[in-house]
Symmetry: D2
Subunit: 368 residues, 4 copies
């Protein structure tokens, strides 16, 4: 802990699009990274003022264009509803800004691929907050898998369970497919699950077979298209490993229960987002609970470990680390494990494969 992951080499000047809860989370992370927070944009002067106030900023931009026109802004945080992500990101990249864009990156893989290419072409940093990668113990799991501690991967057991849409009248813009996109539960949280599985396992899901359900169909009257409340799927990975994933936003009692367990020929490893400071390492001889102790972690996990063992780290800490790493990338540093637009595209492709499999009732290959 002699260095501080939040220390930037040069102060970033950040602008924010959107003024909801996620914008608050992004703005806290920008502050922790010692950025200069320039202002927030929204779709009207009133909303812009409210967003700026909420984020503790002095300037409200009454359109995306106004924000992008500010030459003092280096990096734009896009924190708006799903259907707007790709367009806003494209505009920001075309304006020469680095972009941190909420997931899902786009509602179609074509749109996502286009902005991946654009970011590459322009040489801009373009990151997507697959923020669970930034828990030190998720890194520790990844490092141990990469070092061969778990052996050849055999099976995956993953779930992402929530209950905030468990009651029939629970609602949100995400439920409206015109705003949220053609997938809801999978795009919203399943995308985090598959990203984390692939990130920790170091290999890809090559095909899958999914069933999905829309439990409360009258929530979808906004746009007439019902989006799924829950998905159950079997997956096959590069190495031949197989696994099950369950994704639900209608699972009473679960708030944000993202859990992955990988079983290999030598050991199993489990990470639970709701208890992010502990890994379970299963071995036939003797299993271990590995607590986050910076003195005993792999370098990448230790780097992200801001407080000593026994002092819990949380969601905002992970988010802060993500933003700090994205800012470091702007400075030309290439931090390991930064989720970029290509990772956002990957998640969209997996989402499309899930929708296709569920509809066709057949195995679907995931586009590489």
């Amino acid at each position: 802990m002699t260095t501080d992951v939040t220390a930037p080499t040069r102060t970033k000047r950040a602008g924010f699009v959107g003024g909801g809860f996620m914008a608050t989370v992004h703005s806290r992370a920008a502050r922790a990274a010692r950025a200069e927070l320039v202002g927030a944009a929204s779709s009207s002067p009133e909303r812009a003022t409210a967003a700026a106030e909420r984020l503790g900023l002095e300037t409200g931009f009454d359109s995306l264009e106004a924000l992008l026109a500010d030459p003092g802004i280096d990096v734009v945080h896009i924190c708006t509803p799903n259907a707007t992500h790709a367009g806003f990101a494209r505009a920001a990249l075309e304006a020469g800004k680095h972009v941190i864009c909420e997931k899902p990156l786009a509602t179609t893989s074509a749109d996502a691929a286009e902005i991946v290419a654009l970011a590459e072409e322009r040489g801009l940093v373009a990151a997507v907050p697959f923020v669970y990668r930034f828990h030190p113990m998720a890194r520790e799991a990844r490092a141990r898998v990469a070092a061969g501690e778990t052996g050849r991967l055999l099976s995956v057991n993953g779930a992402y369970l929530q209950d905030w849409l468990a009651a029939p009248n629970d609602d949100d813009w995400r439920v409206d497919s015109a705003v949220g996109g053609p997938s809801r539960a999978f795009a919203d949280i399943g995308s985090h699950l598959v990203d984390l599985v692939e990130f920790v396992a170091g290999e890809r899901i090559v095909r899958l077979n999914a069933a999905s359900r829309t439990v409360y169909t009258d929530r979808a009257t906004h746009s007439g298209i019902e989006t799924e409340d829950l998905v159950a799927l079997v997956v096959e990975l590069d190495s031949g490993a197989i696994g099950t994933l369950l994704v639900s936003q209608v699972a009473p009692g679960h708030k944000n229960a993202l859990t992955i367990e990988l079983a290999g020929t030598e050991a199993s490893i489990r990470f639970e987002q709701e208890r992010p400071d502990t890994l379970w390492l299963g071995r036939t001889e003797a299993s271990a609970l590995i607590e986050r102790d910076p003195a005993r972690l792999s370098p990448d996990a230790a780097r992200l470990s801001l407080v000593p063992a026994g002092h819990p780290m949380g969601y905002q800490d992970a988010f802060n680390a993500f933003v700090a790493d994205a800012y470091a990338a702007i400075d030309g540093v290439v931090p390991d494990g930064l989720p970029r637009f290509a990772d956002g595209l990957r998640a969209v492709r997996l989402t499309e494969a899930v929708l296709a499999s569920s509809e066709r009732r057949d195995w679907v290959e995931v586009a590489a």
Copy 2:
């Protein structure tokens, strides 16, 4: 706790076929049920003597026929390798004995169906130790589901994970398909998992889509047929609920991790075999840990609860209750939830559906 579930109305006279670990478990249960333990049969005089000694019995029968010929025996416990179950059970039924036969009941559904019919025809009690049904809190879960406490079933998340075959040289007769049958992991432990899911949910798996893997193929040289080490499947139930099940005997660190979680419109409920005295009841408002407290359980769970809250119950207690209930059935009492040969047949059908789906790589309907 004023009555004792192990109290029989008339002393049973039990014979045992086989002298391995499961025979010991059966014999302990018979003793707890105050049976008279007559003797043990095995395939040679030496083995019969050894089996009898191990079980603390005076008599060793040197063949099944010899045991069945003893008119003093009411009930036969069949505790031999899988491939012998159906034939031995048939012989015992034909000899007019009540039968408690280890699972899988048979290695084909045709064989299983035949002895189901035979038992019915003869009016004999024929039970299969789906023993996890006899944990009081599994009954409690079932009672709460039946009472509507969890609402309409939406999803199932189940797993049965072990590691006793995780090393390449781990071996056993179960690995030999000539003795163990065409399915190994699923027939052996997956059968318990689907039985418990259907028992607690009160509904049936109607179709499924499975992938399976044989990790160590040279274990199968005995018979040349490779049986599976792990299975991942998606299931659909009567009500339209979907779910994932993962079954593995190559999951390091897991000894006997049978876990089921059912999520309904009102609540989720989770039972873990390795912590059988606690249920987790997930609700959006407030979740609860329900400890086994006889004074506060449903009647059936209270009936099986032999010691007060806080005094753990275990595997042998569950087995004792199963045998006590099977013996009660011989006396004409019909205890709720006794797993009979029809339940054994059901598990064989589900196993066949898993094998078929995995081979065809398609959804398979489960025979009713």
Copy 3:
């Protein structure tokens, strides 16, 4: 698991005094140990018949004397209220019977010492069910401490918490000091706690400083003497280690929460009775959860481990092992860790020290 701990060398013929819940537990254990259960005694013909029926026995003795006069009885299980223990045990020993007597062995150390001497003089086995010693993982903890794995003992953190007397109107014969004795919570459950601490630590509590409380004083109107609901104490052990113990029967939500944690110079070790199949081994470098896996336990723990890893063992299993070991002692085998009357006396002395310290408000030396 090739041998069965419950296998006796010669069938014991057991008699039971008392017909309550504990008598049922004793009788189950006697059956598991393949004893012949001769009969049950109580204070009237009606009660004797009821006791015998409850225990599944044919004979009811209408007095202790009648039972002791039966020359066919080898061993007497005393399962009556506390104040009768010493007298009944004395009578049984004088009748030449081996005795298994519920704790507390006596309500005064003088009485307890007398029957310790008597048992020794007569050469009879006299055991007290400090049954928590018989959980395999309590033995495993003890073996690891004895092997030096935890190093020099530094501190002890123990508690025994229940809630069955948490409501003002909760009542029982134990609350009546004329029947239950001068100490209640400590004699009843604190005695188990200190026995287990000393058993696992392999050293003795030499002095202690206690505070106690009687929360509901009107429960004590039976005899006019208020017995304690809870005790908090600091202890010092042989080695100089110190610790805290909390004992309460008025702790809502705790059913039978007996927990001990010993911290030494090398490692900590924790055993929780409500999860008896798991030990936590705390080390600075990496802590471990040690599951009961017979193949990997110390010999004594493996010996008591009747079912494989992952198949939970419980309270009745521990009780069965206690009775089996007491019966083995009758056969001249000396099983490690059998709690004898001397251990019962030890617990009475610790109880007296607690009462004295609490009254004098000072440190009290525990009689050796």
Copy 4:
């Protein structure tokens, strides 16, 4: 979550004394509270530059005096070794600065009382980071106790266990009594434990009886005075409740295990710092795990809850909330539960009582 607890009404200008780990934690919290971070002071120009750099500040002050002389600084964060706290705090208060001073506030209660009086006299905010008060679920526990949900308090079971001094050669300035003060384990972590017990219980420890141990005496050669590694104590509270507290820095496997459990006539409640987002609420009828869900918490707990249920909060989040509340107090807002110098004095008095009791081997009344 419509408001953000970190939002100040007026930007604070903060200076920092010390450049170690705690200074980093303070500086992160100041940034999160949108303060202007003016500079850091240390005892030499080189150390001041290093401290400023570590904290990401432009200015290093080469003495406390230089920092205090800067009229642009409103509030001084004192993050230096224990023995300097009182003197530095006095100087800062005399310079008219608000002060946030690390605990222990002083090494004697006389010194602590003096600066309590000084802060009051000057009308300055003077806060001590008893930071565990700022976990939302610690507030929730307090609110539920205050609302009577647990009933009359009967017993307390508390512990604060660490292992960072478990090895003989583990060392630190804290071990040197000339720098760390006459108490180590209790002053350092026991102070947090008693503060949290009194904060949540809403009542005071009135007397106590302690035993303490210095395990490794040669660590103390710095100053010749051995400070304690561990303390075991019995406490009595205002209401007559009793309890045990165990404090150790030599408990292998425990990193920062601060745990308190209060048992009342109606319910028990437990908070564990290492799992700060969950409370256990023990009831005889049915116990509950209460997860931090802002929509369902008491107002004060909801106010401190920055992210939704299921998104873990951690140590830095709690620290940020503490600093934000201290800054709010500067603005004249009086946030509930802000730990002030009087609370720091209270902890010093309890520490002195522990030392006195341990030495005299007697009960000691705690000065009010």
